[in-house]
């Protein structure tokens, strides 16, 4: 076939041309079969060059285009779009990577790098000679979004989507909305309590007709793909109806004989099997915890509306996109870590926050009045060994704020802060200044010499070699030690596992691109936000929640989606259904089907990513990949190897 191919070789402002002689690359390919023009350019991705490419394609009727530049991860889509704007089918564009694969990899060998760049461009030319125009698949997208997690991020994303006109399912596993925020007392900087903030959001959500709120709801299976996710949700009943409230409810709770530690208060208090977290919680009805209920019937005697015969329900949800907002767990210190577990007077920051809220006149812990507090920073964060190498970002500001709150509420409290360098970034710096002025004492340890907590029979002692007072050993005998614990990924990874969401080095969910695409994931249609992606404070969580909302919205808004036509195809005549491809597929895109009397494999085009992993496992060679056919790949290999002496001297 006579092709008219245009080749553009990018300097990348020196990133490539410092090591690859781009002029020589051009000269080496300009006379190749089918090549109509070859040019070099300072920045192929720049506007001016894009314009020039469009004109070249239009004016010369080019039917194949190659840009030799950076990784296709960066600019494949850019140049496909250029082809499209010029009226050329975008699959007649082929990308050659001569930066990551050549100039950066071989900066020590310029001649060799130039040779390798020539081979790579030649193989791209071989591929584009065989390229066929392709049309993207189009399929409908369900205009609804399912949100996993009803904490502050999930609630705010639900509200955002609802206000943009998108139906939402807000799915919360626990019996109550509000997540961690509902456990916090006064918030920095609004001065509201966490409960108030949650209650306002909940009130707004109740007004929205296009929001379906589900509590006690667990996603038990997820299938489908972008535009058409199918979720099965198991909803545990509350057993307590709304009309069981007020005094009657309080009496029922009092009558319950079962007592267990209250996890909402980090086990500082006890709750019954029939319970609510706090009077302003959401929904405002109580719930019976059937794992501990003895079905004694005492509560039913007082509140006959209580219905222990309620049964769990399985609900089917169909959504075009799934937004994951499953949040974090507070770090639990190991036994003996800074005295944790050795003394009941060593507690964590979340426990301390509940303690402030639960006390009124004076700060009392385990029957003892607390006046001197030692705060030990970076517990479970910035660890030299283990998984938690990262900084949890929220804790410095959070503990300083709590220390100020405790002082305001109880008056006679002095805090000793054992830090590793304060990180009150941005305007939060002012809170640190306020705390210093208020008389809080800040100490800082050397990186390799953390403070030591001594647990004695009747006392606690914290020792530090302090940088800030001139390398003196300072010790304090506090009434309470607060371990400033950070955020860790949720131990419960059920949602992540359902959708095979990738995790980063820190085990939080990973975004596509840390800088520019922080809420999208490699699984099309699955969006992440809030602290499940990494530690965040409330403002940052809400920003990411709304950002996620607008991204999900733009996927489902039009009711139709376009997908890459690069998928595996099955040769129905050759396939003998052995199941090898089915076993190999990481995306569950292959199923067995019957054609006439024969069992063969079938590809689900909207799930297939075109990864090609099924091709080599097929024993009868019945699978081809669109745009990467055996013929194309072999021609590329021939071109790559073609000019090597060993191949040409036969």
């Amino acid at each position: 076939m006579n092709r008219k191919i245009g080749v553009y070789i990018c300097h990348c402002g020196g990133n490539i041309s410092d090591y690859v002689d781009v002029e020589k690359v051009k000269q080496a390919v300009v006379n190749d079969d089918g090549v109509f023009l070859a040019k070099t350019t300072m920045f192929a991705c720049g506007d001016a060059n894009q314009k020039e490419m469009v004109e070249d394609i239009r004016n010369n009727g080019l039917d194949g285009v190659i840009v030799a530049s950076c990784s296709p991860k960066l600019h494949l889509l850019t140049f496909r779009a250029v082809s499209e704007r010029a009226g050329l089918n975008k699959y007649n564009y082929v990308h050659a990577n001569i930066r990551e694969q050549v100039s950066w990899a071989h900066s020590d060998n310029k001649a060799g790098a130039t040779d390798k760049a020539i081979q790579i461009v030649k193989s791209a030319i071989a591929k584009v000679r065989l390229a066929e125009p392709l049309m993207p698949f189009r399929f409908p997208a369900v205009k609804a979004v399912a949100i996993a997690g009803g904490g502050i991020s999930g609630m705010r994303a639900a509200l955002g989507l609802s206000d943009m006109g998108c139906p939402v399912y807000l799915i919360e596993k626990s019996p109550f909305f509000g997540g961690r925020t509902s456990q916090w007392d006064v918030l920095y900087t609004s001065g509201q309590t966490g409960g108030q903030m949650v209650s306002e959001l909940y009130g707004e959500l109740l007004k929205r007709e296009n929001v379906k709120l589900l509590t006690g709801a667990e996603i038990i299976s997820g299938s489908g793909n972008i535009g058409d996710f199918k979720l099965k949700v198991r909803v545990t009943p509350r057993y307590v109806p709304e009309n069981c409230n007020g005094d009657k409810l309080n009496e029922s709770i009092a009558a319950c004989p079962v007592e267990l530690p209250d996890e909402f208060n980090f086990n500082l208090t006890k709750r019954k099997a029939i319970y609510r977290n706090h009077p302003g919680q959401f929904p405002q009805t109580a719930v019976i915890d059937m794992t501990s209920c003895t079905r004694c019937g005492e509560c039913e005697k007082i509140c006959p509306e209580i219905d222990l015969s309620q049964e769990e329900e399985i609900i089917d949800i169909n959504a075009g996109s799934v937004l994951v907002a499953t949040g974090f767990d507070p770090y639990t210190p190991a036994d003996g870590e800074f005295g944790y577990g050795l003394s009941d007077r060593v507690i964590t920051l979340p426990e301390f926050k509940r303690l402030i809220e639960l006390n009124d006149s004076g700060l009392v812990h385990k029957g003892r009045r607390v006046r001197k507090i030692a705060y030990i920073y970076c517990v479970g964060s910035r660890q030299p060994e283990g998984d938690n190498k990262y900084c949890s970002r929220y804790c410095c500001t959070s503990v300083i704020h709590s220390a100020i709150q405790a002082k305001k509420k109880f008056g006679d409290i002095t805090g000793y802060h054992f830090t590793r360098g304060i990180r009150t970034y941005g305007k939060q710096e002012l809170l640190y200044a306020e705390s210093l002025k208020g008389g809080e004492i800040y100490l800082q340890s050397y990186e390799d010499d953390p403070p030591v907590v001594e647990v004695n029979e009747n006392s606690l002692k914290v020792r530090i070699n302090d940088i800030l007072t001139g390398i003196r050993e300072v010790s304090v005998e506090p009434d309470l030690v607060v371990l400033v614990t950070g955020m860790v990924p949720r131990a419960d990874n059920s949602v992540g596992a359902l959708f095979k969401l990738p995790k980063g080095r820190d085990s939080f969910f990973n975004e596509i691109h840390m800088k520019l695409r922080p809420v999208e994931t490699v699984i099309d249609g699955i969006i992440i936000c809030g602290a499940c992606q990494g530690p965040k404070n409330i403002t940052e969580s809400v920003n990411s929640a709304l950002s996620a909302a607008v991204k999900s919205f733009s996927l489902v808004n039009r009711g139709e989606l376009e997908m890459e036509p690069i998928v595996a195809t099955i040769d129905e005549e050759t396939c003998e259904w052995c199941g090898a491809c089915y076993e190999a597929c990481p995306f569950d895109a292959i199923r067995k089907t019957v054609k006439g009397t024969r069992e063969i494999a079938e590809i689900n085009n909207s799930v297939c990513k075109g990864c090609g992993i099924c091709l080599p496992v097929c024993p009868v060679d019945a699978i081809e990949l669109t745009a990467y056919s055996n013929r194309e790949i072999e021609s590329m290999i021939d071109a790559l190897a073609g000019s090597y002496p060993i191949m040409t001297t036969k």
Partner: protein, 431 residues
Amino acid sequence: MSDEIRAASYDALVIGGGIAGGEAALDLANNGYKVLLVEKDLSIGGKMILLSKVFPTLDCAACITTPKVSEISRHPGITVFTGAEVTSIEKKGEREFETAVTKRPRYVVEEDCTACQLCEEVCPVVVHDEYQYRLVGRKAAFIPFSIASPRVAAIDIENCTLCGACEKACPPKCIDFTQETEKYIIKTGTVIVATGFKLFDPLKIPRYGYGVYKNVLTSMEMERQLAPTRPFNTILRPGDGKMPDRIAYVLCTGSRDDTIGNPVCSQICCMYSLKQAQLLMGALPMADVTIYYINIRSFGKGFEEFYEQAKGMGISFVKGKVGKITETETGNLILRYEDINENRVMEEEHDMVVLAVGVLPNTDPLSFFRNGELKADQFSFVDQAEVLSSPARTSVKGVFVAGTASGPMDIPDSILSAGAASSEAISYLKQ
């Protein structure tokens, strides 16, 4: 100036074409809204497009910004005005904003310019290149920088001598000295303020000698030296062109400092300094790099690991604030500082000093509304009326803030805040 006032209407006005404004404009346009993006500068891309690499991924900033910028400039739903400024905004009612926009003449017909640079070649006037942070010169007829969008020449009329050489040299004859300032009244349903930040001016701290000692640079000047479109193609100290081998970073220059009126932590300087230090170790393998700091604040995703990586590469860290810098006869610099870890006052000689300058508010948006309806916070950033539950909302309903206009933040946080602003803007338009 022509008296004609042109009228136009769009669904949304986005003020500022940096990474936050650009992202917000794309979010809106991708959902079918018509957007006008007004940029004061001659190119969109903001400060990000001028950076070297980004932390902690060490992606080339130009390489990840250009596709965004290109997507913005070719999006059918987005109209871009460069060299244009908002002079006033009036809220006539809900979803009725009227904005006066002034577009300065470029003296070049944008559609016809091919960026051939012949005008640049023949122009006899040389002035400091502000896009290279004054490290090198440019002509009065010039293309702002190689990856500018639009990549179109402009005439710097302040410095132009009207010699006419460029007019004669221009092949498509697109230079037009008769162009005048254009005035517009833009009607939109919502406004997003993404006006970015200003860098601290180190002349305000005379004891660091910036502007007097030639080898004291700002971090943005170092960004340009490290960028792929760098002026020298290597690292040189400006005083004598020597390749430096003992480089110091002075953190918190103009941040966390009540004495110059900015108690706020700028949030990005620790990280960009760690990044630059690592790039310097790559560019100048024999050089020593020392970072003088109060606290290293590597708080974001992957940041602490990046800090550890910097330590592993052999970058030195000294906990202590630099009090004073003096120059030696050779152009080297002596830093006097308190080494807090060692508890003593020390002096150390370096041959190049980089001042890690902080983030200050851009106060332009505060004068957009005649009666000060758009409120500022105590530091003159745009106030976030509901900072926890709706961080993009401002004191004016229907006006939203994105990126560093509301306070210091890094690129991912700017992107997230832009997403929040566009989400709220769509909700507001649909009310």
